[in-house]
């Protein structure tokens, strides 16, 4: 029997992600766990996340999940979501600068803060709400997802992957930024598929069947 492991390092809300994965996963069970061995026994892993990157990395290390993630990333299909995507890069500027997992070359930077001025015309931080994602390349995860679909975002920092070939999709907020990245067996979304209604469910369903 196949299982999807959600990596639980004690931050944020895994309820809706777990429910969403259960709904779209036809055969597999969904396991929410912080036990590295249990997670390594799953066929595929999801690294979710909200909150600050320093606390996130601290908890991943304390629970010895960082090494497990790097090891699993060599072979298992893996999906990062939101902060879970950001920690997959090498470095984040958040919280004064934090070294991250380094599954993708590149770093994570903040959107520039808006200067007070005309209401409505300036870009607020966090980037919060529904934005369109332009698909930068064909990928099995995009199957059945129309180009320029709307996804739900909430974040103040965004990834800057060093290799443009890793960019799976972009969204526009002042400038285009990487909303989805992928290489080999690893993919990551800045938006929340579990909060993005039907297209989000399609993406998650695609992940549960992805065999890179």
């Amino acid at each position: 029997m196949s299982a999807i492991g959600i990596i639980d390092y004690g931050m944020g809300n895994l309820h809706s992600l777990g429910k969403a994965l259960e709904r779209v996963s036809s055969s597999g069970r969904v396991l929410i766990s912080y036990d590295p061995e249990e997670l390594l026994s799953c066929d595929r892993l999801v690294l979710p996340g909200v909150g600050g990157v320093r606390e996130c990395m601290k908890e991943l290390c304390r629970l010895e999940l960082n090494e497990m993630i790097v090891e699993a990333a060599r072979s298992k299909p893996m999906l990062g979501i939101c902060l879970g995507m950001q920690v997959m890069l090498e470095w984040s500027d958040e919280n004064g600068g934090v070294a991250a997992l380094g599954l993708f070359p590149g770093k994570v930077v903040r959107f520039p803060d808006p200067s007070p001025g005309t209401p409505g015309a300036r870009l607020k931080v966090p980037h919060m709400g529904w934005n369109r994602v332009r698909q930068a390349q064909a990928h099995p995860l995009w199957a059945g997802v129309p180009d320029e679909s709307w996804f739900y975002f909430v974040h103040s920092y965004h990834a800057q992957p060093a290799d443009p070939a890793h960019v799976l999709g972009t969204a526009e907020y002042g400038h285009p930024f990487a909303a989805a990245i992928a290489r080999d067996n690893i993919a990551a979304f800045q938006f929340h598929p579990e909060k993005s209604q039907n297209v989000g469910m399609t993406l998650l369903a695609n992940f549960t069947q992805w065999s890179p």
């Binding site: 931050m11 944020g12 809300n13 309820h15 809706s16 429910k19 969403a20 909200v50 909150g51 600050g52 606390e55 902060l83 803060d113 808006p114 007070p116 001025g117 005309t118 209401p119 409505g120 870009l123 607020k124 931080v125 966090p126 980037h127 919060m128 709400g129 529904w130 934005n131 369109r132 709307w150 739900y152 975002f153 909430v154 974040h155 103040s156 526009e172 907020y173 929340h192 579990e194 909060k195 993005s196 209604q197 039907n198 989000g200 469910m201």
Partner: protein, 264 residues
């Protein structure tokens, strides 16, 4: 481009959707799960539940409602009303809420907003500000001097004046880590006379975080005004949707026709 959000608000009392006028006169408006399902289908961008249940014993009913809704609906859900501690925040998030809205407890202890934001991420901390325009009495019937309008913050469901200036309070809350602000004009709430645009403008032009407009929607034009003249990032409405005056879809098409970016 980021879409402007349309957010139906469900006031919840002991597991039922209700709607008051000017914070009083409560009327039953249906079952939360059914109402939430309907709005999701119509294309609501988020849902807000405000729990107005008075007694603490009925609190578990809210968690049940949140769980039921979160099981079926895959758009963001904000829950507010009586959120007073990090334990409350955690309980709501694990019941399935994506964000919590903090009101009275933020005034009583601004540090709470910071702590909740640090622990659960600022993106899930909405600070709700209920406020009323400060009306200056003119002595001996003389016309008062024209001064910029001011608004006072109220807590405890609009029953208690705080003496705080709403715009200053909004800035303070963002400094304390609020990820988003929900601004309700008590003067307009339930009146269907439109948002207090000056209030929205004053706050939206000052803070860096998204502002949700609330209180007073009666027509689709009011939504448009809130998002344009008011400068809000999202509009919250209850009665025009609950009473079936308009669907969310109609509202979005109306806004799209007038050039407002919305998710359709």
């Amino acid at each position: 481009m980021l879409a402007k959000r349309i957010i139906p608000c469900l006031d919840i009392d002991r597991g039922r959707v209700v709607k008051g006028v000017k914070f009083e006169d409560i009327r039953d408006a249906g079952d939360p799960v059914e109402v939430a399902r309907k709005y999701d289908y119509q294309g609501a961008d988020e849902l807000v539940f405000l729990d107005i249940t008075a007694s603490a014993e009925d609190r578990p009913t809210l968690f049940q409602t949140v769980e039921q809704v979160a099981r079926e609906i895959y758009i963001p859900l904000t829950v507010g009303g009586g959120v007073r501690s990090c334990a409350d925040v955690r309980a709501l998030l694990s019941a399935g809420a994506d964000k919590v809205s903090i009101n009275t407890a933020a005034v009583e202890n601004p540090r709470f907003v910071t702590e909740a934001g640090e622990r659960y991420g600022v993106q899930c901390i909405v600070v709700a500000i209920d406020c009323k325009r400060v009306v200056k009495k003119s002595p001996l019937g003389r016309k008062p001097k024209t001064e910029p309008p001011r608004w006072e913050v109220f807590t405890h469901g609009g029953r208690r004046a705080t003496g705080l200036d709403a715009v200053e309070w909004a800035v303070t809350m963002v400094e304390h880590g609020a990820g988003e602000l929900l601004i309700t004009s008590m003067d307009r709430d339930g009146t269907k006379s439109g948002y207090d645009l000056e209030l929205l403008q004053a706050i939206s032009a000052t803070v860096p975080v998204p502002v949700i407009a609330s209180g007073g929607v009666g027509t689709l034009d009011h939504l448009y005004d809130g998002l344009t003249a008011g400068g809000a990032d999202a509009v919250l409405a209850a009665s025009i949707f609950h009473q079936g005056t308009h669907t969310i879809g109609e509202a979005k098409r109306y806004l799209a026709d007038k050039g407002v970016p919305v998710r359709i």
